[in-house]
Symmetry: D2
Subunit: 161 residues, 4 copies
């Protein structure tokens, strides 16, 4: 079953550049990762934007929604910054006939102790089995868009109630 | 929701010992991994055995089945060697009232390019969402116990038909 | 033979904090690294400051010099940011009776593709064998303080002439 | 200054093959490692053999010696299995006009917690600065060929007296 993977930026894709002593969002390492894990399904990586999620606008979210609406694939993974992932998830609700899972990372995928690989694995495992709808997959939990907050001090996503 | 994690050995848990110039199955690194990823669910790691899966006997499989039958948890992850994972999955069919997912790795979790972290993530994502039954989760696919083979030369699991 | 290891900050010690969406200099991971490599010599890690090397002042350099002057150890490794490493090396010239080697990294030690481990190994190998004096050890080369520049675009240190 | 790097096998070059459920010596990853670290010197990697060092014969050691004798380079790094590294070092004594440093690893370079990268860095740092002769560089120490043993239980090399 074919999967579309949209990358919109966020911590997961950050690299470190010494020349400026600042990090920047670069090409997503997801293609290289999935190749290493020798996954058995067809997928297409669609780079949409490279934004810190705090900088994402309503227009950006409309763009993501429009792209998903045009996809042939029924299964969609979105890698996203964590700060506004829930907001984007809410903006994607109501898309018919698709299962959409958003995930990201607290540590860039290029770190030794990154959570990116686990989160991508977890999100794909959920994506393969969930019914149509929009979900967040973080910290080994699956959340509904309107029922999740990022607990910054605990470095994890939690259910609201 | 609480998850039981049974470790029975296999490549995923192999370390390398120079003194003997051989690898050996050691304590599973799964607890350390899940701690690093800051997972949000309750889990219990239950070390059952440390066997290369080619060495697993019918008695070993009965033991795994008996332990699962006594568990309070409804969700069970089994980390297992890849060579006879499908055989063990078949031996676990018919356990009522549980969702059981088996996974493992082609490269030990202690390798830089291991598939263990992705596979554990994927298996847990599937475990959270699948209905009762027994499944294999490998290479980004979910398989039924009787409908999967390990393709040794391609280093991956594939559906039989 | 005992070695003193002074950490003053720089890229080598940077971690990433999602809550702030930025990299910051943290506790140096050097002690943990040397433990992993099972080194056979006595060493003492002395955290001096946690500065991006562009922020280091003449006063900071005097402080480093003063600390080195009081050390019992004859062999001194300094982990330092790359941008002003050469300047600090020059400020340490003339300390009598010590071999001092400065090193650092272009990618933080916490990255998968860091150069930190190689550079620390290389610097220590040089430190054990060099005569008294002050040296930079970067990119597999040993440099004299006044005869080296950081080539930013090539991400490496080079001899001036 | 140009460096010749001879690879003769050993733990440092071992990979794990699931199809066989065993570790085997493969192409040395040293070229890829040195590329990642962006080293600034010319080097040539010369694959000599792929042997567990317990299997090395006097003939093998003569071959290594003969190759070194024909090299243009004055600086020679040999990556070697740890069990008979000292024996090979003794077989290389007396080669005139070269500095030769042998190193290896207790954990394969492909492991997350390998000592290979540190050891290669350390050996190269020593190689750049040592006088002519033959040396072992392991565990952050430089040893003379006849004055070192591998302490198996402590997983490290130690001076004899």
């Amino acid at each position: 079953m074919a999967i579309a993977i949209l990358t919109v930026g966020g911590t997961i894709d950050k690299d470190y550049f010494d020349a400026l002593s600042e990090y920047q969002i670069t090409e997503s390492p997801i293609h290289e990762l999935l190749h290493t894990f020798n996954v058995n399904f067809d997928y297409q990586v669609i780079p949409v934007m490279k934004k810190d999620s705090l900088d994402m606008t309503d227009e950006d979210r409309s763009k993501v929604r429009d792209i998903i609406n045009t996809l042939e694939q029924k299964l969609v993974l979105v890698t996203h910054g964590t700060d506004t992932m829930a907001q984007t998830a809410q903006a994607l609700e109501g898309i018919s006939d698709k299962t959409i899972v958003l995930t990201g990372a607290m540590k860039p995928a290029r770190f030794k102790d990154t959570d990116a690989v686990f989160n991508i694995g977890f999100a794909l495992g959920a994506l393969r089995t969930l019914q149509q709808g929009v979900y967040l997959a973080m910290n080994g939990e699956i959340f509904a868009p309107g029922n999740v907050i990022k607990n910054r001090s605990a470095h994890r996503f939690e259910q609201i109630s």
